[in-house]
Structure formats: structure tokens, C-alpha cells
């Protein structure tokens, strides 16, 4: 059997187990025993790769951002509109739902752990800049109400989508209703609908 273990691969495997448990039961479910069982490895193995539970949680947050970045990049190609990106942030499929649950599970922790808070902020900044760039491009094309400031609007849109994502998770609204509300908001900042002539 090969002696060499792919250290990073194993850490990612453990982080994936942390994410699955956090999505299912919140961080309170993330114990050394549960993570080992979920990852299908021994407790000692988990301890070999992470010095502490906090260490494991911090690493899991970095992989969370990775998933978000992948989803953004996948949606940021040519011709992608801001609407597509915003909808991609709603928990409409299993993967996005799990990501939203894990992000929520980590939120309270993020407020006490500067390292985790930093990962959250970096992820938010990336999103905000991406949305602002898409809005600026739309404005340059004359598709946006001229008074709309891309940077400000990006922050407003992301807050709206974040609130809608929680509302969908909690069953206050369906995914379709959330999309309709995004469209309602976008109709107010796009030039075509406001000046239809």
C-alpha cells in the first residue's frame, strides 16, 4: 500500500464531512466522533490532520468560500447577467441549499473568530465586486437607470438575496417567489422598463 498520503486531499475530505454535518445539524453536531464517522476514518486520523476542533472549523470555512468562488466563476462568463448570478445564490438545489445552511451554521462562530470572519468578508467582497462590475457593464450599455450607483446597488442586491435565501430555507417563500422578488427589484433599476418608450 502506498505510504504517501495526500495531506491536502485528506483535509478536504474531512472538511466536506464537517460541511455535511453542519448543514444537517449545525455546528453543535460537529464533534470529533461525528466527523470521523461521517468521513469514514478514525478519530486519530482526524486529529492527525487538525490540531484542534477550531482548526478544523476554520479550514472548513476556507473550503466553503472555494465552493462559492467556483459557482461565481461558473456564472461569470461572457454574457452572464446579474440576474443569473443572484439566482445562483438562492438555495434552489441541494448543493446551494447545503452551502446556505453551512454558511448560516458558521455565522455566529464568525463573529467570535477573526479568521473565520475574514473568510466571510473576503467572500462577500468578491461577490460584491462581481455584481458591481456586472451592473457597471449594464449601465454602460444603457440598460440601467443612470442614477443607479453600481457599488451601492451591488450591496443592496446582495443583502436582498441573502435575506431571500434565508426566507426560502425557512419556507417563508418558494424559490419561484424569491426569483419574482429579484425580478421586481431589477425592474426598478433597469432603464427599459422605467422608460418603456
Amino acid at each position: 500500500m502506498p505510504k504517501r498520503v495526500d495531506h491536502e486531499h485528506r483535509r478536504q475530505q474531512i472538511a466536506a464531512a464537517v460541511r455535511r454535518i453542519a448543514a444537517d445539524r449545525g455546528l453543535e453536531g460537529v464533534s470529533l466522533n461525528e466527523v470521523a464517522a461521517e468521513a469514514g476514518i478514525s478519530k486519530g486520523f482526524v486529529q492527525h490532520y487538525f490540531a484542534s476542533r477550531d482548526d478544523m472549523l476554520r479550514y472548513a470555512t476556507t473550503t466553503l468560500r472555494g465552493a462559492l468562488e467556483e459557482r461565481i466563476v461558473a456564472r461569470s462568463g461572457d454574457g452572464v447577467r446579474v440576474r443569473d448570478l443572484l439566482i445562483a445564490l438562492l438555495p434552489l438545489d441541494e448543493a446551494a441549499r447545503d452551502d446556505a445552511l453551512v454558511a448560516n451554521a458558521f455565522l455566529v462562530r464568525a463573529l467570535k473568530d477573526p479568521e473565520i470572519a475574514c473568510h466571510f468578508r473576503t467572500g462577500h467582497r468578491l461577490l460584491r465586486d462581481t455584481v458591481a462590475a456586472l451592473l457597471a457593464a449594464a449601465r454602460a450599455d444603457g440598460d440601467l437607470v443612470p442614477t443607479v450607483d453600481p457599488a451601492t446597488e451591488a450591496v443592496l442586491l446582495l443583502a436582498l438575496v441573502s435575506g431571500l435565501a434565508d426566507a426560502v430555507l425557512l419556507g417563508y417563500q418558494s424559490g419561484d417567489e424569491a426569483i419574482a422578488l429579484i425580478d421586481l427589484h431589477l425592474s426598478r433599476i433597469t432603464a427599459t422598463r422605467r422608460n418603456p418608450r
Copy 2:
């Protein structure tokens, strides 16, 4: 010493301890030992008032809604505008910040526990109906763009404020920036600014 113990009062005292711990460390910090220490009573006492940890968490959610209702009622008197109510939902002071943290701590749990989910939905419905009523009154007074539907707009506004509340908690924005974004949104649905003549 009086033998009679005020059962409900004691349960509220324990729930307050649960909320303080949840705001500080998330639900993962809520153990029997921690709650007893925080409430300044014995473990046996806690067990006397709650059959299980789940039972205790469920009760704590009901008291959470109580705090929200009080805040709404306090802001729903004559002459209260929707803006005031929305701003009251932002974590701008210690109490509102703790409430927001506790609600976040309970969110993942709410998705697995129908009873807690029910409390969340009832609280949201109350808020939505209150905001919709304020918007309907504003529309009747000619203060709203006539095409704005109060019920739909209430859901959109609450999603926006919920996202802004998380953003303020996480330090993405300051409280003042969040208020400015609420005002930006309200300026788009109020009649005066859109038709200034």
C-alpha cells in the same frame, strides 16, 4: 422561605440564559452545565423545568418571538412609519444584536424541528402583516407609488432588512450604511420622490 416557585418565571430565567449563551457561542455552547452556570442555578433545577435539551431550546424560541413582538408593538403606535419599524429590525443596539445572533443560532435547528420552524414562521407572518398594513396605509395617503403591492413589498422589504441585519452583524456594513440602503429602497417606492412635481 416561600415554598411556592413561580414555574413560568423560572423557565423564562432559564430561557434568558439559553439566549445569552446562544448569542455568545451559538447553540453549540448550550449545554446543561453551561445553562445552569449562566442562570446561576443547579443542573438538577434546569432538568426539573425542562424534560430535555430540545424542550429547553423550543421554549427559548417562543421567548425570542415574544421579544420581537414587544419591539414591534412598541413601534406600531400611531404615526409610526414603515421606515422606523424596518430600522428597529437592524442590530443597532446590544439587545437587537443579541436577538439577531440568537435567531441566527436557531436557524439551522429550525429547519429540522417543526415546532421551532413554526415559531419562526409565526414571527415572520406577524412582521409581514404589520409592514404590509403600514404600506397599505401609506398608499391610501398617496405616499406610495400606486403600482406597489403592499403584501409583496412587505416580503421584499423584510428580506432586504434581514440580509442587511446579517451584513451589519458580520461587519460588511455599518448600521448607518444599512439605514442608507433602506432609505434608497424606500425612495424608489414612495410617490413623492418619483413624481416630484
